[in-house]
Symmetry: C2
Subunit: 336 residues, 2 copies
């Protein structure tokens, strides 16, 4: 692999993992079980429909688009369609960059708005971090404000002391977790929080919106995680015998090649059509998950992987709506 | 390890894996989930009770004891007790070695007898193989006659062409399989027959009654299996990309130490209190299963394994009765 292909995504990168349509061609004769995001999303969407049908008013999600990015616009339209199908209300509010902050504060204060998301990048760089932290914690469906991030990195799973209200987790990392649960990588017989103990996982992407939080979540659940980007490799784990309460980040001399050879699960999110994982490096029977809109695995992964998940987008949108339902309940209960 | 500690069990060894009582001391504070055989057996026993309660007559299992072995006698008593608890009928028929064959043929012909087992060794060596093949295929609850063995090794899963009647599998290997299913090592999202694809498993024991059939069953289900005894190491698997329809046995230069280091699951059955697996060699988060009546893992396995199964005996007896129920149905349907 060329390190320059591993783009580090900044804190303000574009919305991750566009919901792509399921690949049309049927699985070839290899032993690989191809699991589509739509299969995983279906149960969540059904639960969401049921939850909405029991409410007096459908929760309202507001999306702010201020970047004229056609990909973001497409993502927004797709979110709107999924909202409509599942019975939620969605309003896309387009505006100029300079107007965004004022409009955001209006929405923060408006009791009729239950969830807010912003299509990034707006300004790019740290100014977008400022925007992320400007979304009310009560309405932050993307889970990108500092409190939710802090709790996630510190393995704090609830907002309240009685462990009733779960923290909001960023949608794409959460989607990957839910996919790994669905496909049996999480072992349900083990205690919650330890269910990845024994799994070695490589995540190729260490962006602030997906790769880094995902590595932290996986390590908090007991995995040994190799996290790769073009600046190199680090390990996230809870130490030998998962003795630590939360993950720590360790320097490593392990190369990406060595990490891929050792991994039970390989998760990719490199936003480039040029980047492809070398199938020959992977373990026979690996679990391969791609959350990039680009295809980061070659076609021959279907003869080498036990399970292959080509995209995650539909689950990401389901997680967005799941976060919305939670936040609406927290608003009712005045949790935060 | 000392190779001399790895006793090769002959085709005629004593009944495997006595049902030991669950260890009394509670699991220490490590991350390990200790799974007792009683926990796995419970659901099977409930199903068996239900099956028996729906029958006009409780199936009758006959056990032949001709070796004056106190351990075999204890196992026989324990089988009798489990039969009684679950609603089955059990008759222990004690006799002299030289009388056994005649008494066996009587039981083969007696329509009131639904299942037959023999407590081995009787004569030892190949004369006991002759006895194993003398048990009627219609009543062989232990699955030790040639037809069942042949089908198992050749990955033939049904007795009939319409795939309605499953082959009988030897009880202890089957018990280990059911335990691995219960604890999530078998991945249910994958196609049946491929559910161990991606798993590397070491089995320390290559006896004809447990270790070799177990390695074959695991490899037939997609695992890469290292099989160890004091004569050395061999690999059982279906090749790269599990392309073969049934397992093959491959020569290997991999040492037991290397195999243990590479294994996701380590299964032991060494009938010696002296033999202990060196915990330091195992992967952090390994799955450890012991089917020996001796403790083949050290106490510190409870700080290194994700899941530890200290014994399998209660599941073995449940499988014996499950085979009995099947055979009784096959007798009704005149399958074989």
């Amino acid at each position: 692999m060329s390190p320059s292909d591993l783009k580090r995504k900044g804190e303000t990168e574009a919305a991750p993992a566009l919901p792509l349509p399921a690949p049309a061609k049927p699985a070839p004769s290899g032993p690989t079980r191809v699991v589509l995001a739509s299969e995983v999303a279906a149960a969540f969407i059904n639960d969401l429909k049921k939850a909405v049908s029991e409410k007096k008013t459908a929760p309202l999600l507001v999306g702010f688009l201020a970047n004229n990015d056609p990909a973001a616009k497409k993502y927004a339209e797709w979110t709107g369609k999924t909202c409509q199908d599942a019975g939620f209300r969605f309003e896309l509010r387009e505006c100029e960059k300079q107007e965004l902050e004022d409009k955001l504060f209006e929405a923060n204060k408006d009791a009729k708005v239950n969830g807010i998301m912003i299509y990034y990048p707006v300004f790019g760089g740290t100014q977008d971090s400022y925007l992320q932290n400007s979304v009310s914690i009560q309405k932050d469906v993307e889970g990108l404000c500092h409190t939710y991030r802090y709790n996630m990195y510190h393995n704090v799973r609830f907002l309240d002391e009685s462990s009733k209200f779960k923290c909001i987790i960023p949608c794409t990392p959460l989607a990957v977790i839910k996919i790994l649960e669905h496909i049996g990588v999480y072992n349900k017989i083990m205690h919650e929080g330890n269910r990845l103990y024994g799994q070695t996982i490589t995540v190729v992407n260490r962006s602030e919106v997906v790769g880094r939080p995902l590595a932290a979540l996986l390590a908090n659940d007991g995995a040994k995680v190799y996290s790769a980007d073009e600046f190199g490799m680090v390990e996230f784990h809870r130490g030998s015998g998962i003795q630590l309460k939360k993950h720590e980040v360790f320097e490593t001399k392990t190369t990406l090649e060595e990490a891929l050879k050792a991994s039970d699960v390989v998760i990719t999110g490199v936003p480039s059509d040029k980047y492809k994982v070398d199938t020959a490096l992977l373990k026979d029977g690996v679990v391969a998950v791609n959350f990039s809109t680009s295809k980061n695995f070659k076609d021959d992964i279907r003869q080498k992987a036990a399970i292959f998940v080509p995209s995650v987008g539909k689950v990401t949108v389901a997680m967005l709506l799941r976060n919305l339902v939670r936040l609406e309940e927290y608003q009712e209960a005045k949790v935060v």
